[in-house]
Symmetry: C2
Subunit: 497 residues, 2 copies
């Protein structure tokens, strides 16, 4: 079903330079070799996207059909997709099957959105010739920005990759998409790219609507972001990676936006009454949220705030015990696992940092870790606020609830901020709500941040460095707005549209 | 009424370093000396803005009242404002009185918008506990980004300055504003700043909602853009100035958006049937639009495209005669006038460029100029596409209508693109509409671009370098969206809001 080719506007091409997929569990290469795309391929894909853009932008109903068809083609890929993804990412079957359904439902949600008119945000103001000076008719409507480059994430090989949220949003908005395939799941990427390519071919739209460029070098991404036909970039990944793309996009003769989702430690406040009433249940739920998917979620609860004392000690003991019963997990790639061990080692023994748990784990597996500090130390040491991607939790022992806002104020922007509180905690939650909303794109009561609903109301975004543009989201229908721009038509004859 | 003080959160302060207003017509200093704000003043203003932000963001109805009150206070300033503005800018009384009304109506429009709910873009999705997994309640709503820095324009000392569009939009969105006063109209600025300060004091909002920092050096603007309390910047001015602010804002530890409106030559297509039927009337209207306000409009029709031949020759003769009958005009500042003479001199005699009109004018006045080139030369020479701020028009003689799209394709992003056409021209207009909409934020039929309606449907924006963010506008109610960000509240108890 897959043979390591890149896909440019419906054409499958092979290159001489190749790279291998890596089995996440063993660290060994396996399967077919994958073609490495070159700058010439970027040129061809972007030129095809530019040529396809005007036709693609015009027919929203046909785009809705295309999105539905992509979903159907992904489901039709069958178990080969799941097995390849399991091997490339180390993620378990149930998770990947769930992620596949999430990906398909995401495509369907955008299709449904296209059957409404809200995304166009159309405003018509009739002429008023009696006014002095006469007022012209004005019609404002959203319009596709043009071809979009998508850089998928390693941690969601389906839902945030080739046909993931960025691609679905861009296609829905009427923008052709050129995907830079992630080198950590090239086979998964090719499977899905073939599904999209087939759906585009069947749609009657120009084939340039979609291209898939796998590769394992940075020059490929740079060529893509630098191409004049590309008008916006969607990226999910590391802070360093996102910042490099943003700098390059800003330095173009025509700067373009990079919608980068980068780094978040997702603070969770455990309020006193809830801790007293149900600390044990919270501890078990925390452990489950922290360890889910080897902690490889952008909404992983990396930071806890609670008032120091016996309730917190009991909470930590329960959480540590729950985490320690689970076996160390396979991570997405050897590089991510190395970075995790490096991050945990840097915290273990750092001044003022107590190690609550550091699970014994081989160097190719992710063992759970919990660290604790007091509020003053946490605020004084920026290194304690850096994301450690994996099952690593930082706990701030606050002297009183008065410390909560100072700790929150020390944070950079976040995807989420959560609190767990019972009725007696609500005045405190109310007082903290403004700073939580200042710091995050989503504020959560009495739930853990690791579930992200795909819906109209979702905001998966937040101030820098959670994302590069706090006015947007990368999950939910509002994500289309990143790839639309308003245009006003003044005094237009009815015959012209 | 004015005494050269800066205004920080309701406090009028004097500094030792001072600068003078310059009489635009004579180039001589006049009136009181104005205080130069320092980085310490920036600190004080931004801290006050940060402290005022939460309260200010909460009460939209009171903000609407504030916007109305600012308008009333501006009207109450009386003729002192107009006379000062006339002297500082060289703009005539009727224009400034009209601009004052436009400014007041703009404030009223945002006030009216706040009485509706559209600007909040609220979406509520109820919980579904029966679903597996349960679906939480989600409420998405727009929220103020925080304090905004505003850099006003020299060419609209009222409508795009201290209480102009950016300030009105930011205040409407719930963001405190710190204005960097423009050194070309410090007295006008102080007048309006006093009106805003009085309205804020009467409103009961914290005084930190508004500060006015005059100055005549770049360090002031840099300190403002670099201040951590500032969350967004509104700027209208030169391309170099805008790019410098953007680079600085991107290099902050927390990068912030700069909404810069910079450079546009506003192509106008004269289609063949309209030229044949009413070339003379079009020529007179063109001359009026080009010369209005000494051409100092961001929507000035700096570029004409027409098919070469007798109709175009007659058009140019009529336009040149109309322009040449008017006296050379005072410009906004000696620096702007110098730049205009430099720009016109660089075009006069340039290879392939014919000078249709170069009005004889003293070096402190703006004489009208029209230049013509063929399409190939225009496309080959990027210098011919640069904005010359003033009464200077470039005309591209196209061999046939087939040249129109190639010429349009050679352009950078524009605020506007217009066509003049009669019924026989409509198929051509229809064919050119997509590229016009790709290149500009507003597409205009059979009108000139120099009128910009302040309304809900207006887009005063466009692709780079017309603006730095093609998804926005700096005129009309949609301008609020620049200073809002969506936040999602998940599973929130009813008691907490």
């Amino acid at each position: 079903m897959i043979d390591g080719r890149l896909l440019i506007a419906g054409q499958a091409l092979q290159t001489e330079t190749r790279f291998s997929a890596i089995d996440a569990a063993s660290g060994e290469p396996f399967g077919v070799d994958f073609s490495v795309s070159t700058p010439e391929h970027v040129d061809a894909a972007c030129a095809a996207a530019r040529d396809a853009a005007p036709v693609f932008a015009r027919d929203a109903a046909a785009r809705a059909d295309l999105l539905e068809a992509i979903g159907a083609e992904i489901l039709a890929l069958g178990d080969g997709l799941i097995e390849t993804a399991m091997r490339e990412t180390g993620l378990p079957r149930a998770r990947l099957e769930g992620e596949r359904m999430r990906t398909v439902n995401q495509l369907r949600l955008f299709a449904a959105e296209l059957h409404g008119f809200g995304w166009q945000d159309e405003v018509f103001e009739p002429a008023d010739l009696a006014r002095v000076p006469p007022r012209p008719s004005l019609r404002r409507i959203n319009r596709a920005v043009g071809p979009v480059a998508v850089f998928g994430a390693s941690n969601f090989p389906l839902a945030f990759s080739v046909a993931g949220g960025d691609t679905a949003a861009a296609l829905a908005a009427g923008c052709p998409v050129v995907v830079k395939g992630h080198s950590a799941h090239p086979g998964t990427g090719e499977y899905v790219a073939r599904a999209v390519t087939k759906a585009v071919a069947d749609s009657g739209f120009p084939t340039g609507v979609f291209s898939f460029l796998p590769g394992n070098n940075r020059a490929l991404g740079a060529a893509l972001v630098g191409h004049p036909a590309i008008k916006a970039v969607g990226f999910t990944g590391s802070r360093a990676g996102g910042l490099a793309l943003i700098a390059q996009a800003q330095a173009r003769p025509e700067p373009i936006p990079v919608y980068a989702e980068m780094s978040s430690i997702n603070p969770v406040l455990l309020l006193p009454a809830a801790m007293a009433a149900r600390g044990g249940a919270l501890a078990r739920a925390y452990a489950a949220s922290l360890a889910m998917g080897a902690g490889q979620f952008c909404t992983n609860p990396g930071l806890l705030l609670a008032v120091d004392g016996p309730d917190l000690d009991a909470f930590l003991a329960t959480a540590a015990a729950a985490l320690d019963t689970a076996a160390p997990q396979v991570m997405l790639s050897p590089g991510i696992c190395r970075a995790y061990h490096h991050g945990v080692s840097a915290l273990d023994g750092r001044e003022g940092v107590a190690t609550i748990l550091r699970q014994n784990a081989p160097e190719d597996r992710c063992g759970a870790a919990i660290f604790a500090v007091d509020a003053a130390r946490f605020i004084a040491d920026p290194a304690l606020r850096e994301e450690v991607f994996g099952v690593s939790g930082m706990v701030v022992r606050c002297a009183s609830p008065d410390d909560f806002s100072a700790v929150l104020a020390s944070l950079e922007g976040q995807l989420t901020a959560s609190f767990h509180g019972d009725e007696a905690d609500w005045p405190l939650a109310q007082a903290l709500l403004p700073i939580m909303a200042d710091k995050a794109g989503r504020v959560i009561a009495n739930e853990w941040p690791t579930g992200v609903e795909v819906s109209r109301a979702m905001v998966h975004g937040g101030p820098f460095p959670a994302t590069s543009d706090t006015r947007t989201t990368s999950v939910g229908t509002l994500a289309m707005a990143r790839f639309l721009r308003p245009v006003c038509f003044q005094n237009m004859p009815f015959a012209i549209d």
